[in-house]
C-alpha cells in the first residue's frame, strides 16, 4: 500500500515536532528512505489544523512516501 504525506523542511520538522494542535494531539514528523521529513494528517487532523496558526501546512501538496529500510527483528 502506498502512503501519501506532506513534505516539510528540516527546520519545520524540528520546530513543530511535539507541538500540540489541540488538547489531545501533537505534530509528528517521519523521515522517508531519503531522510526527507513527512507530515501525515488524518481528515480529522486537517480539520483541527485548519483552525490553528499552522493551517499553512494544509497547502503543501501530498507526495508519495517510501519508508526507510527496516531493522532486524532480533
Amino acid at each position: 500500500m502506498e502512503y501519501y504525506g506532506r513534505i516539510v523542511t528540516n527546520q519545520q520538522a524540528n520546530d513543530l515536532q511535539g507541538v500540540f494542535i489541540d488538547a489531545d494531539t501533537f505534530f509528528n514528523f517521519v523521515q522517508d528512505i531519503n531522510g526527507i521529513y513527512f507530515l501525515f494528517l488524518s481528515e480529522q487532523d486537517e480539520q483541527d489544523v485548519s483552525n490553528t496558526e499552522y493551517s499553512y501546512l494544509l497547502n503543501i501538496p501530498l507526495s508519495p512516501y517510501t519508508p526507510p529500510p527496516l531493522p532486524p527483528i532480533e
Binding site: D24, T25, F26, V30, P68, L70
Partner: protein, 269 residues
C-alpha cells in the same frame, strides 16, 4: 364515564447511569460518554474484570470508546486528564471512529515507563486489532535498541514470516507463532523470570522460557514500539491494556470480558 378517583402511582426510574459501577461511572463522566450502549458496555467490562479478579492487575485500560480523540484518550483505571494517570496523547495521523483508532505513521503516548511503573517478572500488554494485515509493524511497546531491554507486541509481521510475537522485559527471545490473520485480542505476558506467553483470543499460542533481563526506560507507545519508529502499525486498535502478568485462566477471562465488550459495541471481529 371515567372516574375521577383513579389512583395512579407514578413509576420511578433510577436516574440514567446511576446504577453503574463507581469506576465505570468515573470513566463515563470523564470521557463524556452519553450513548447508553457504550455506557452499558463500559460498565459491564468493569464488572467482568472485577469479577475475574483482573481489575487490580491493570495499570492502564484503554477501552477506545466514543469515536474521537477526546474520548479515546482516557484510562479506565484512572480517568484523570493527567500524564501521571496514563491518559493518552496522540500524534497527528490517527483516524478515530466508533470502531476504534487507526494509525498512519502515528502513535499514542501512554506515559507508562516499564522501569518505573511496571514489575520486571509480572507484566502484560494487550491489543485488540480490527485489521487483518501482514505488515512490518509493532503494535504496542517500548524498545531501547538492539540488544537492549524491550517489551512489545507485534501482530503478523511481514518481515518475520507472518508471526505474531511478544517480547516482554527481555533483550532477546519471544513467544511467537505463525499467524493466519491479525484479527482479535492479543495478550503478551510474563508471569515469572522465565515465562513469556502470547495469547490470541484467549488461547495460549506459544510460550517461551526466555529470561527477563531488565526493563526499558522508554515510555510505552501504542501504534509503534517507542524507540523503533520505523515499524509503525497500520492496525485499527479497539482496546489496549498494560499491567501485571496474567495466568492462562486470567487471560481467558480477560478475553471473554473484552469480547463481550466489543460485541456489545458491535465491533467484534
Amino acid at each position: 364515564m371515567i372516574g375521577t378517583n383513579l389512583a395512579i402511582t407514578p413509576k420511578r426510574y433510577a436516574p440514567f447511569g446511576s446504577s453503574n459501577d463507581a469506576d465505570a461511572q468515573a470513566f463515563i463522566t470523564a470521557a463524556g460518554i452519553t450513548d447508553g450502549t457504550q455506557q452499558n458496555a463500559v460498565n459491564q467490562l468493569v464488572l467482568d474484570l472485577k469479577s475475574a479478579n483482573i481489575w487490580t492487575k491493570m495499570k492502564a485500560i484503554y477501552p477506545i470508546v466514543g469515536g474521537t480523540a477526546s474520548t479515546h484518550k482516557w484510562n479506565l483505571k484512572d480517568p484523570r486528564d493527567l500524564d501521571a494517570a496514563f491518559r493518552l496523547t496522540f500524534t497527528t495521523g490517527w483516524t478515530h471512529s466508533s470502531n476504534g483508532m487507526t494509525p498512519l505513521n502515528a502513535y499514542a503516548d501512554t506515559f507508562i515507563v516499564p522501569s518505573t511503573n511496571l514489575t520486571l517478572n509480572s507484566m502484560h500488554l494487550s491489543f485488540y486489532s480490527r485489521t487483518n494485515a501482514n505488515t512490518a509493524s509493532n503494535e504496542i511497546g517500548s524498545w531501547e535498541g538492539a540488544g537492549l531491554h524491550y517489551t512489545m507486541l507485534s501482530l503478523r509481521q511481514s518481515n518475520n514470516s507472518n508471526r505474531s510475537t511478544a517480547f516482554i522485559q527481555c533483550t532477546s527471545g519471544s513467544a511467537t507463532f505463525v499467524d493466519t490473520d491479525s484479527l482479535g485480542f492479543y495478550i503478551g505476558t510474563r508471569t515469572s523470570v522465565s515465562s513469556t506467553i502470547v495469547y490470541k483470543n484467549g488461547t495460549n499460542r506459544n510460550s517461551t522460557s526466555t529470561t527477563s533481563t531488565g526493563q526499558s526506560t522508554r515510555k510505552i507507545y501504542i501504534g509503534v514500539a517507542n524507540g523503533n519508529t520505523l515499524n509503525y502499525s497500520t492496525k485499527q486498535c479497539s482496546f489496549a491494556s498494560i499491567g501485571d502478568g496474567l495466568t492462562d485462566t486470567e487471560s481467558a477471562n480477560f478475553n471473554t470480558a473484552v469480547a463481550t465488550f466489543q460485541t456489545t459495541l458491535g465491533r467484534n471481529v
